[in-house]
Amino acid sequence: MTGAATLLAATGSLEPAARSFLSPTGQEIVFLLVGIAVLGSAVASVTTKQLVHAALWLVVALGGLAVEFLLLTAEFIAWVQVLIYLGSVIVLVLFGLMLTKAPIGRSPDADSKNRWVALVVALASAGTLVTLVVDAFRTSWIDLGAGGGSAAVTGASLFRNWVLPFEALSVLLLAALVGAIVLSRGAKRRVPAPRAGRLRAGRPVGSNGTVAATAPRTAPEAAAPSAPSTPSVTEES
C-alpha cells in the first residue's frame, strides 16, 4: 500500500470529508446509473437466446460505456468508442451472424454445456477481482478536471509521445486487413482434390462437389446425381 500512498500523494487532491460513499456527487450518481445499465445490457447480451438480440444488447452496453468515458472526461475516447464499436464492430458482428446463418428468433441451444462451469468461473473471477479492487482502491479519489481527454490534448499526446506505436498499429491494421482478405478469399480454393483411394468406380477423376455440379458433361450418366453429396465426405475427412 505504500506505492498507492505515494501515488495518492502524487495526485495531491485528497479531501477526506467530501469522499463518503454515502454522499455521492452528481457525477457518481450518473456513473452508477449508467454503469448499472451497462452491466445489465452486458448480462443480457451474454445470456439472451436470440443471437441478433445479443448483438443489439451489446450496442447498448458499449454505448453506455461511451457515456462512462465521457463521465471520466475522456471525450475523444468516447467518440472513438461510438464510431468504431457502435459504427463498425457491431455491424461486422451482425454481418458475421448473418453470414453464418444464425437463426432469427430464439435458439434454445445458444449456450453450450459448459454453461455451469462458465458461471462458476465467472463468479469466482468476479468475486476475486471485486474483492481485490475494492480492497485496493476503496479510498482512491479521482479528481476530475475539465478537458483532460479532449481531442486537442489527446491528439497532442498521441502525436507527440506515442507516434511510433501509433504507426506500428497502423501497420498492424494493414496486416489484419490483408489477413482477413486472404482468409476469406483463400477459402474458395481450399476445396481439396479427391483422394485417389476414395474414388468410386464409374466416377470420373476430379469430379468433386464443385466441379461435378458445374461441369455435368463430364459425368452425364449415373454418377451425376450422387456426385454433389458424396464427394464432400472425402473432403471432410
Binding site: S112, N114, V117, A118, V120, V121, A124, S125, T128, L132
Partner: protein
C-alpha cells in the same frame, strides 16, 4: 632333467586342439594330422619323461603363479612313478582313440571340433596327472568336465545326447562343489596348495580335519569316477560317440578321481571313517553295477556299467589302503576297457545297432568283424579276471589288498600305519569284490555269447536284419523297455572297417594280455610305484578265479538252456505272450536267448533300469528343482513382472484419464485455464 619335457606333454595336445579348431573349417585335410600328431608326440614324450625319471624317483618343480593373500598358487610339476605310469597310459589310449576316430567319424561334419575337444580332454588329463598344485589340478579337472559335456553331446541333434551331456555335467559338478571346498580346507590346514607339502603334512599328522577333508574330496571323486550316489551319468554318457566313451572310461575322466585319491592317499589314511565310507561306496557300486550290466541290452551300456564296477574295484583297493593295487588295476582296466569300447565301436558300425539282442540276430557277425571278435574275447577274459591276462593280476592285487586290510595288516607301503585302515573296510571290499568277480564273469560271458554266438540269428529272423536294412528297422529292433543310447552313424555296414579302426585294437590287445606280468616281480612295476608286492596270493587267487569261473559257467549254462528252449520252440518263462501285439513285448525278446534273464530272475527288470536310481533321483531332486524353478518362474512372471506391467498399466490408465479431458472443445480448455488463473490469483493475493 629338462623341465620342458613334462611341460610340453600337456601343452602339446592343448595347442593341437587350438590348431585343429582354427584350421578345421578352412583346411579339413589338416584336421586329422593336427589331431593325431600332437597327441602321439605327447604320448612319446610322456614315455621319455617316464624313462628319464626312472624308478623310485620323484621330481618337484614349481614357479609361483600368482600371489594370493593366503597360500600361494603355483605352477608346479610333481612327477613320480604313478604319474609316469598313468601319463603313458593316457598317451597311448588317447593316441589310439584319435587314430580310431579318424575312421569312425570319417563322414562327420563336426569332426574338427570333435578332434579338438578330444585333444583338449587329453591335455587336461595330462595336466591333472602332472600337476603338483591342487588348484592347477582343479583346472584340469574342470576342463575335463567341460570337454566331457561337449563330447557326450556331440550328436546334439538327438534329445538323448543333449540330456545325457547335461546330466553328466550337472552330476559331476554336483561332486565338484564339495571337492572344491575340500581343496580349500586342505589348503587352509596345510597353508599350501602344493601336493608335496600336503603329503608331508599328512604324513606328520598335521591335518586339522582329515575326515572332513577326505569326505569332501570323496564327493568330487565319486562324481568324476562314477561311484555309487553319483554314478548315474556314466551309462547315459553312452550317447556320445564310442571313441569318446573309450577315452572317458579307460584313461581320462573316470581315472582322474582314482588317481587323485591315490595321489593324496596319506590324507585319506588319516581318516578311518572316510575309508569305510569309500569301502561302502565301492561295494555298493561294484555289486549294483555288475547286476545292472547283466541285464542291459545296449552293448555300450553293458560296458559302461562294467566300468562303474571296475572303478568300484579301484576304489575298494584305495579303501583297503593299497594305492598300488588300485593304480595297477586302473592301468590294466584302462587298456582292456579302451579295447572293449573300440571293438564295440567296430561291432556297432558293422551291425548298425547298439542292441545285443538285435546283434544276435545278424548272421555271421562274428565273421564280419574278426578283429573285433577276437579282441573283444581277449578283453572280456581280462575283464572277467581269468588268468593269464592282465585283469587277473590286477584284480588279484585288489583282492589281496582287501584281504590284508581285513586281517588288520593293510598294505599301506609306508604311507601310513597299517592300523589306519579299518578292518571293516577290508571285509566289505573283500566280500563285495568276490561277489562282483562272480557277476563280472557272468556278464562278460553273456555279452560275448549273446552278441557273437547266438544261433537264433542264423535261423529265424535273418531276413529283416540284412546288412542293407535301413536304420529305422534296426533301431526299432532293440528291446522296447531297455534303456538305449542310440548313436548316429552313417557308416556303411557292408564295407569292412578301415585299418585305422582295426590296428588300435591290436595295439591295445598287447597290454591287455601282457601287462599283468609286470606286477609279478617286485623290481618291475612295484619298483616304479610304492615298492610293495603286487603278486597274487594263493588263497585269493584261487577264490577269485574260482568265483569268476563259476560265473562264467553259470552264464554259459543259462545260455545253453535258453538256447535249447528256443530251439525246441518253448518260450522263455519271462516271455509268456508270443504275439508281440498282445503281450506288448517285441519279438526280439522272444527269440533271443538271454542268460541274464534266467540268472537274475525277478531282479532282471529293476537291474535293467539301474535299480531305479534315476527314477529316485528324479523324484527326489529333479522334481523339487523343477517345482522350485516353476515357483521362480511364477514369481518372476506374475510378481516381479506384475510390478513392471503394473507401472505400465498405471501409466496407461492415467493416460486414458487424461485423454478424457482432451475433448477438443476449446471452451472446456479455456474454462480450466481461467479457473486456474483465478485460483492462482487468489492464492497469491491471500
Amino acid at each position: 632333467m629338462n623341465l620342458a619335457l613334462p611341460a610340453l606333454v600337456p601343452a602339446l595336445p592343448a595347442l593341437g586342439a587350438a590348431a585343429t579348431l582354427a584350421a578345421g573349417k578352412k583346411a579339413p585335410g589338416l584336421a586329422r594330422p593336427l589331431a593325431i600328431v600332437p597327441v602321439a608326440v605327447s604320448a612319446v614324450l610322456a614315455l621319455v619323461v617316464a624313462l628319464q625319471l626312472g624308478t623310485g624317483q620323484t621330481l618337484d618343480a614349481a614357479t609361483r603363479l600368482t600371489p594370493t593373500g593366503g597360500p600361494d598358487i603355483s605352477l608346479a610339476v610333481h612327477l613320480d612313478g604313478f604319474s609316469s605310469l598313468i601319463s603313458v597310459l593316457v598317451g597311448v589310449v588317447a593316441t589310439c582313440v584319435q587314430v580310431y576316430s579318424t575312421a569312425y567319424l570319417k563322414a562327420d561334419p563336426r569332426y574338427p571340433s570333435y578332434a579338438a575337444l578330444v585333444s583338449l580332454f587329453t591335455a587336461a588329463m595330462f595336466l591333472v596327472v602332472f600337476s603338483g598344485d591342487l588348484i592347477v589340478l582343479l583346472v584340469g579337472w574342470e576342463v575335463m568336465g567341460v570337454c566331457s559335456y561337449f563330447l557326450i553331446g556331440h550328436h546334439w541333434e538327438t534329445a538323448d545326447a543333449r540330456s545325457a551331456s547335461l546330466k553328466a555335467f550337472l552330476v559331476t559338478k554336483l561332486g565338484d562343489v564339495p571337492f572344491l571346498f575340500g581343496i580349500f580346507l586342505l589348503g587352509a590346514d596345510v597353508h599350501s596348495f602344493r601336493i608335496p607339502d600336503v603329503l608331508a603334512a599328512a604324513g606328520e599328522g598335521r591335518l586339522g580335519h582329515p575326515t572332513l577333508i577326505a569326505l569332501l574330496l570323496l564327493a568330487g571323486v565319486a562324481g568324476k569316477s562314477a561311484q555309487f550316489p553319483l554314478h548315474t551319468w556314466l551309462p547315459d554318457a553312452m550317447a556320445g560317440p564310442t571313441p569318446v566313451s573309450a577315452l572317458i572310461h579307460a584313461a581320462t575322466m573316470v581315472a582322474a578321481g582314482i588317481y587323485l585319491v591315490a595321489r593324496l592317499m596319506p590324507v585319506f589314511l588319516q581318516s578311518g571313517a572316510a575309508l569305510v565310507v569309500l569301502a561302502v561306496m565301492a561295494a555298493v557300486t561294484m555289486i549294483g553295477s555288475a547286476l545292472c550290466a547283466l541285464a542291459q541290452d545296449d552293448l555300450k551300456r553293458v560296458l559302461a556299467y562294467s566300468t562303474v564296477g571296475q572303478l568300484g574295484y579301484m576304489a575298494g583297493a584305495l579303501a583297503s589302503g593299497d594305492r598300488e593295487a588300485s593304480v595297477f588295476h586302473l592301468v590294466s582296466h584302462g587298456a582292456f576297457k579302451a579295447l572293449l569300447f573300440l571293438a564295440a565301436g567296430v561291432v556297432i558300425h558293422a551291425a548298425h545297432t547298439n542292441s545285443i539282442s538285435a546283434m544276435s540276430r545278424i548272421p555271421g557277425l562274428r565273421k564280419r568283424v574278426p578283429d573285433a571278435y577276437w579282441t573283444t574275447g581277449i578283453a572280456l577274459v581280462a575283464l572277467a579276471g581269468l588268468p593269464p591276462f592282465s585283469g587277473f593280476f590286477s584284480k588279484e592285487a585288489v583282492l589281496t589288498a582287501a584281504e590284508h586290510a581285513a586281517n588288520g595288516e593293510a598294505l599301506t607301503n609306508g604311507l601310513g600305519p597299517a592300523s589306519g585302515v579299518p578292518q571293516a573296510a577290508g571285509w566289505i571290499v573283500l566280500i563285495s569284490a568276490g561277489l562282483t568277480a562272480l557277476l563280472t564273469g557272468a556278464y562278460a560271458t553273456r555279452l560275448f555269447l549273446v552278441t557273437f554266438h547266438s544261433p537264433a540269428g542264423a535261423a529265424a529272423a535273418a531276413p529283416e536284419v540284412l546288412p542293407a536294412a535301413d536304420r529305422a528297422t534296426v533301431v526299432a529292433d532293440h528291446e522296447a523297455d531297455a534303456p538305449y543310447s542310440p548313436e548316429l552313424d552313417e557308416a556303411d555296414p557292408a564295407t569292412a572297417e578301415p585299418p585305422a579302426m582295426r590296428w588300435p585294437l591290436w595295439v591295445l590287445a598287447v597290454p591287455t594280455m601282457a601287462f599283468g606280468v609286470a606286477g609279478l616281480r617286485p623290481d618291475w612295476l612295484p619298483a616304479l610305484l610304492d615298492g610293495g608286492s603286487l603278486r597274487p596270493t594263493g588263497v585269493t587267487a584261487v577264490t577269485g578265479t574260482g568265483l569268476a569261473v563259476v560265473g562264467v559257467l553259470a552264464a554259459y549254462g543259462a545260455w545253453r538252456s535258453a538256447t535249447a528252449r528256443l530251439a525246441t520252440g518253448r518260450p522263455a518263462p519271462a516271455a509268456v505272450g508270443r504275439v508281440p501285439e498282445q503281450a506288448g513285448a517285441p519279438a526280439a525278446e522272444v527269440i533271443v536267448a538271454d542268460p541274464g534273464r534266467t540268472l537274475l530272475g525277478p531282479l532282471f527288470g529293476p537291474a535293467r533300469h539301474g535299480f531305479g536310481v534315476d527314477r529316485l533321483y528324479h523324484a527326489l531332486f529333479v522334481r523339487p528343482v523343477a517345482a522350485a524353478a516353476q515357483l521362480v518362474r511364477f514369481l518372476d512372471r506374475e510378481v516381479v513382472e506384475g510390478y513392471v506391467q503394473g507401472s505400465g498399466i498405471g501409466a496407461n490408465l492415467l493416460g486414458r484419464a487424461v485423454r478424457l479431458a482432451q475433448t477438443g472443445n476449446a471452451q472446456t480448455y479455456l474454462s480450466a485455464l481461467l479457473a486456474g488463473v483465478v485460483l492462482l490469483a487468489v492464492l497469491v493475493a491471500v
